[in-house]
Symmetry: C2
Subunit: 366 residues, 2 copies
């Protein structure tokens, strides 16, 4: 992980998985969410923390969700329903249910369809934040399927040559199983960095790197710069650039990939694109591809092993210890954090103490 996003070891307060999970479940219960959904929500959030994906874990997301339930933008008991369906596809209205709760149910539908037709694909309108996109994609793994997730986010990224944000950070996730190797799990915003990372860099008092954001006129800032101030939502200087940064480095590819996500997660959900002023928050897309529909599953998984081993044993360039593949460091982090716990910034611990007090929940994290 880049140092911009790492909690300093000396500052960190270590929190164990079990009490964290329990506390998160209780917070969701207090929000009026039913028991099964509380456990699901906690699983999505804590899985992100265990995998080292702080941007989408408890520390970065839970306070926003609590605010959302409080102000009514999140529906604790959504009457989500399938509004259109074919053998391999469905479109769901999520009724303002939190994505970390509704999207796994959509993924289950996609998986069931893939069992019957080889592929299942579901779009979700009227959605809310889905947490770590790869959580949903990874649900396909135990079924020997490849899982895909995309989410069309509110605008915050400048198109190539543009001075106004028109697209969201629009992540793409894909998970594919191996046999003995940790699975391939890709999960990345199609902006140069994820939106949440600006706040994280600020909290950790780190600079933004060249090629991450544009200035007030929409020009890519190609030197180090300060993260935007808390709550900053004004014009640019803090508007993200697409991956690539500049046209010469390929920002039109990042821009195009963000656009693809806006089409599949946004427009094809019937809920509209990310910059649509009337659109409430997020549109989602999930898919599952049955490996057995294309080839022998055991052969696929052993080829994946061979390929992943090849990637991670690539001779490293000077100054680097090793080459990784998407999902490998996250899988190592799970092992580490299972033993040592999750490092939380003191600011996050303070928020937990506050919210536990406010909701009359016993504080048990540290």
């Amino acid at each position: 992980m880049l140092k911009q996003f790492m909690v300093d070891e000396e500052d960190a307060i270590m929190v164990q998985e079990a009490p964290l999970r329990e506390t998160v479940v209780t917070v969701f219960k207090k929000m009026g969410v039913n028991e099964a959904d509380c456990a699901l929500a906690a699983d999505v959030l804590v899985t992100a923390d265990m995998r080292g994906v702080e941007t989408h874990g408890v520390s970065n997301m839970l306070r926003g969700y609590v605010t959302g339930y409080g102000n009514g933008t999140l529906n604790p008991n959504p009457d989500w329903k399938i509004v259109r369906e074919t053998p391999a596809t469905a479109n769901i209205d999520s009724d303002a249910g939190l994505g970390i709760i509704v999207v796994p149910k959509a993924m289950e539908i996609a998986i069931e369809k893939a069992k019957n037709t080889g592929v299942g694909m579901v779009t979700i309108r009227n959605g809310r934040h889905m947490g770590m996109a790869s959580y949903h994609a990874m649900m396909a793994l135990e079924h020997d399927m490849i899982g895909v997730t995309m989410t069309s986010c509110p605008p915050g990224v400048l198109p190539t040559f543009g001075a106004e944000p028109r697209l969201g950070t629009n992540p793409i996730a894909l998970a594919a199983p191996a046999d003995k190797e940790p699975p391939f799990v890709f999960d990345a915003a199609m902006s140069a960095v994820a939106g949440n990372k600006l706040g994280l860099a600020r909290r950790l008092n780190n600079k933004l790197l060249p090629g991450w954001v544009g200035n007030a006129e929409g020009e890519p800032i190609m030197e180090e710069s300060d993260p935007p101030a808390p709550g900053y939502e004004g014009p640019a200087s803090g508007y993200l650039l697409p991956v690539g940064g500049t046209r010469e480095l390929g920002s039109h590819k990042g821009y195009g990939l963000m656009a693809i996500v806006d089409i599949l997660g946004g427009i094809l959900s019937g809920g509209g694109y990310g910059a649509n002023p009337g659109r409430p928050n997020f549109g989602h897309y999930v898919a599952a591809y049955s490996i057995e529909a294309f080839m022998d599953t055991a052969e696929f998984k052993s080829t994946m092993d061979e390929w992943l081993q090849m990637l991670r044993t690539t001779k490293p360039a000077p100054g680097h210890d090793r080459v990784m593949y998407a999902g490998l460091p996250e899988s190592e982090e799970v092992e580490k954090r299972t033993v040592h716990g999750i490092p939380f910034h003191p600011e996050v611990i303070e928020w937990f103490k506050d919210i536990c007090g406010e909701l009359s929940i016993p504080y048990t994290l540290s």
Copy 2:
């Protein structure tokens, strides 16, 4: 287009679409390809030239194909067949047929399946070069479907932190229809630049830009550099970087996206990944998503119009005339080239004169 890839106007020899198409058909006939397939092959190549995608047009590809038929790596009459099938999926063995001929047939199968189940998805093993990936994706447009194409290429790109090429340039293409606006058509290598562009930059005597290639040790070259010499296949210095260039700029995203293409087009085709020493050339992936399976098609297309108009009317950053979207400049190029013809580099014209002489074809291009 970046100047690195533009034929100088004063040097260019203008060639009209009709005689070019006719000449290309005749060249394929001489290779032993049947009549219908000759027309298809010419359509794929000339469509690339008409769209301004020189890297995948006649000038850059045809000579390689002629060589391939000559040395037996391309089969002019492939007995391609479906080796596995479900209602929404198929896996095809292309029997060493050229991708520009076999992949459109796979896309037709995907489209037929999407009519029945909402989605169709086909992987192709034992494949050969597919030309411009978006050609196949665009086949979905007239059926009111979204088309997707990926192709797992032989290795030539360094993974992030790596000193050995492990993945191909692995392009992703997606085409989605609009009502009045030119369709959205994304088509890009997941390397910083397409492999063919190194040769094009050399032919046009232009420098490679920072962040495009790594040096012999695998370190990203972050200043301008010379393109590799003709035929150069030695270690690095000319090995491409993933889109993003460096880890700080997001090269791990380009690396991960290339890996996704290697999984879907390579491993899931049963033909193996790109760096597999035994694998002959390319593995392909095509998919078609029926819009009507998810929502009202007319509503989708009018929302696409609104969204594309929003993108192309974005206020431009200083120094730029306008913001584009993927597929817009290519559609404008078709209009321009229909009137003025296709600009060919004199070197390409010389090759055409030579090959026409060699194959006893009348030369009619200029």
